[in-house]
Subunit: 218 residues, 2 copies
DNA sequence: TAGATTGTTAATCGATTAACAATC
DNA sequence: TAGATTGTTAATCGATTAACAATC
């Protein structure tokens, strides 16, 4: 197979732009919803409409992953889903843990449940003895003092932090010390991790303030 | 006061770049945490370190909002917080509602509680009669059939959608029909709103898939 | 003063979009 | 074929960064 300039760059660096990964993920999500309908093919402008993108963005992202459609029929939905999986899914299944079984932690454990085969939440953690006996979405809650052992036993590589802000730093240190590779921080406390760990942060207050700002300006 | 080129552009368009608003919001968050310490001034490189930014980004954002520090002392923390508020906070206090009192809705109601004076969650909504009698974080939960009335009575302009994905479309339609100005969608269903409504979407699965992708590539 | 920092412009980098040949 | 769509490059747009004079 002949690769174009962009595909070569990606092969070399092994990386797609972050925005493209994000869009491909969203794209697969809406395509999975289309599966039960009788529709077999979809056009770039249909996908674009669903995701607030332009058709060119959609086609370009597919180009970057080297997937090709047909000018007359568009893209085969099932094959496209597979192509996205081949491109963005990890080669080996990744196991994740949620640290903090408050409302947010529970919401995430329940929501992620069985959505992707290669990405599973396999453990929850908390410090509250009352929570430790209970399961959420069929996932056992462990005491955080057993974190080292559970991470090793269950081969956990990704952690989702939903503890109170004041505990975020300690939890992060613990995770880094136990060789975690990726962290999703839902705490308002900004964290620092070594370069080899991927960190993504999300703060609801900032999202809300952005909405408030752009609302007021209209 | 003399405005530079960038400040003029902003005055004209009444808009800061989205990224700048985001960073200013995050900046205020960490500055508020510094308030209880005796420290009175802070340098751009200190802020940058806290937020994973460069000092230049920080100074440029402050320049865009027309705030000036001192080369010897840096920025006065209290004044900086006020300047950020003056820049990004809405002129009039905005009232928000959370639609859907599942774990996620509860987490958000509790978390946002009293964090900002100009941005308050004043109502929760659900369809479950059991939830409607209860308050979360002191905020009353209404039945969604009363949405019109409550939005009018409490002057609600921003809505946070945390209902199951299947109900997201109906809720959005209801909100748009009732004159909401900004929507934060925590549902995996992508929504469409008229141009005059500001929409921000967040999907945990996409965040997780991004982490998994960038973890695998290292 | 020397050294550190700020404020600002110009250059660079990266992402989006316009344009269009190729395809069905 | 004519018309719609795809795939790709080059141009444009926007955001970040390098560079440096001004300031304390």
């Amino acid at each position: 197979m002949l690769l174009n300039y962009y595909q070569c760059t990606i092969k070399m660096k092994n990386l797609l732009p972050e925005k493209t990964v994000e869009r491909l993920s969203q794209c697969r999500r809406v395509l999975l919803n289309k599966l039960d309908q009788e529709k077999e093919f979809i056009f770039s402008h249909e996908i674009a409409k669903l995701l607030h993108l332009t058709p060119v963005q959609v086609r370009r992202d597919f180009m970057l992953m080297g997937y090709t459609g047909s000018p007359s029929k568009g893209y085969n939905i099932k094959k496209l889903i597979k192509a996205i999986g081949y491109t963005i899914d990890p080669d080996e299944s990744q196991n994740a843990a949620v640290i903090g079984m408050g409302n947010l932690g529970k919401a995430i454990s329940k929501y992620v449940e069985d959505k992707r085969e290669f990405l599973k939440i396999v453990a929850n953690f908390d410090v509250d003895e009352k929570k430790i006996s209970k399961s959420v979405a069929g996932i056992k809650c462990h005491h955080i003092k057993d974190l080292s052992k559970v991470i090793r036993d269950l081969d956990i590589t990704i952690a989702i932090i939903t503890v109170p802000a004041n505990d975020a730093y300690d939890v992060k240190e613990l995770l880094v010390g136990n060789g975690i590779k990726g962290i999703l921080n839902f705490t308002p406390a900004p964290l620092h991790v070594p370069d080899h760990i991927y960190l993504e942060e999300f703060d609801i207050i900032t999202s809300l303030e952005k909405v408030a700002y752009f609302v007021k300006e209209k």
